[in-house]
């Protein structure tokens, strides 16, 4: 579980996040949604420790990230998997080497054990016969799946995804969404996904946090989101006519 309380962050004069408090539960896909520039990525980077918040607490179970020493943070990071927007695979390494990288860095597994784990992770994301290909030789959807495989290689307790289906076709997007959802359930991870894709919300939004102008505007589940009664959220969702029709019951 990750619990954020009273989190604020400014860059020089500009306040980007203001007094955000929320809880991200394990075994659930927790989505952070909002317009571009609303502060979603800054919130995610604060939770990850890539940005230092101005105030507030970030609790990983019973450990407060904001008061941790550098060494403790490093240890915590071994429990974290992250899928970046573009995949962030290492260009100079093959698919297999990319997934093996955290194992090489942080485990004492033998070569055989590492290969077994790599193949296990790649199987889970439905990647076969691509072990020796380089990132430049695979498609965008495959890159995302390899990034997910790398993120789960160390069996993390916490999984973060920054817009995991941006730039993908609807079919691949759904596939990635379902993959993350299934892995979250299977490994009981605390998963936080940063997205502005409403399809993801409807598909896998076990818990949804809506950020608007750096503030928490609404929180609920995918079932509640179409009837939230929150005007700002409705303006965001129903900018897409498809969801407006869904709400009216014209689409089931």
């Amino acid at each position: 579980m990750i619990k954020v309380s009273g989190l604020s962050k400014s860059f020089e004069e500009k306040t980007v996040l203001q007094n955000i408090s929320t809880t991200f539960e394990p075994g659930k896909t927790n989505l952070i949604i909002g317009r571009s520039g609303s502060g979603k990525t800054v919130l995610l980077k604060c939770i990850l420790g890539l940005f230092e918040p101005d105030s507030g607490k970030i609790m990983y179970d019973d450990r407060d990230l904001t008061t941790m020493r550098q060494k403790e943070r490093k240890m915590l990071r071994r429990e974290i998997g992250m899928v970046f927007q573009g995949g962030a695979l290492f260009d100079s390494l093959t698919v297999e080497e990319n997934v093996r990288f955290p194992l090489d860095m942080f485990t004492n597994f033998s070569g055989k054990e590492k290969l077994k784990r790599v193949n296990f992770c790649l199987d889970h994301v439905n990647i076969t016969n691509a072990n020796h290909m380089f990132p430049s030789e695979i498609s965008g959807g495959m890159k995302k799946r390899v990034a997910i495989a790398r993120a789960i290689a160390l069996n993390p307790k916490y999984l973060f995804c920054d817009e995991p289906n941006s730039g993908l076709d609807p079919e691949t997007s759904t596939l990635i969404d379902n993959l993350i959802h299934d892995l979250t359930k299977e490994f009981n991870m605390t998963t936080i996904i940063n997205t502005h894709d409403m399809n993801s919300v409807i598909e896998i939004g076990d818990s949804v946090l809506f950020i608007h102008k750096g503030e928490k505007c609404w929180e609920g589940t995918k079932k509640e989101i179409l009837n939230s009664g929150n005007q700002v959220l409705e303006d965001f969702i129903f900018a897409n006519k498809l969801y407006a029709q869904m709400k009216k019951g014209q689409i089931h």
Partner: protein, 246 residues
Amino acid sequence: MNILYHVGRYFWMLGKVFSKPERHKMYGRQLFHEIDALGLNSIGIVVIISLFIGGILTIQLAYNLMNPLYPKTLIGLGTRDTLILEFSSTIIGLILAGKIGSNITSEIGSMKVTEQIDSLDVMGVNSASYLILPKIVAVVFIMPFLVILSIFFGLVGGLVVGPLAGVVTVPDYIDGIRYFFIPYYVTFTLVKSVFFGFLIASVPAYYGYFVTGGALEVGKASTKAVVNTNILILLFDLILTRLLLT
């Protein structure tokens, strides 16, 4: 103030670079890769440039020593000492600042803008150390060898071009390069090459590591890195010459 900011951040980065590595084995693997990519791949250009420099130096020295009172052996001696004291270390340093420096900035810069460095940080890997330390060690290690190679091929260039141009005979040239040899000059040039190697790897790495934006910014950072590394090489050349040769 801007210079102070960059100097401060450069040393802060070096602090991170020289902190304890997570796993020595992984760094060792990176080191061999960098020696190959940055050092061994530069041998070709070093040989070509050195051959030309040696040849040109020999002709120019012969032109300046046309007075029949000067012995012809001075041409070989002058070529040798100029190559050892200045050209092989400084010119090769400047050339490699362009070749290796732009390579380092664009590689690290591209990793930065595609979030690969963030990815390392999130994993708990010291990205500065993992990416930059093997490059610095590789270039510092390989530079003295490249300089020795450059001196040798510079002398060969003079040996080939001098007699072909008719400005010096082979025996006179060889007598010249063997005459009044001062071994300390080699020590001096090797010390310089170590300093230059450090600058060639660390300054471009700094520009790549802190780049923000996209491909355009990476290109600009590469240019800045090469220009500033060249200036620093010349500055350190002056300082080291003043300190070690007087």
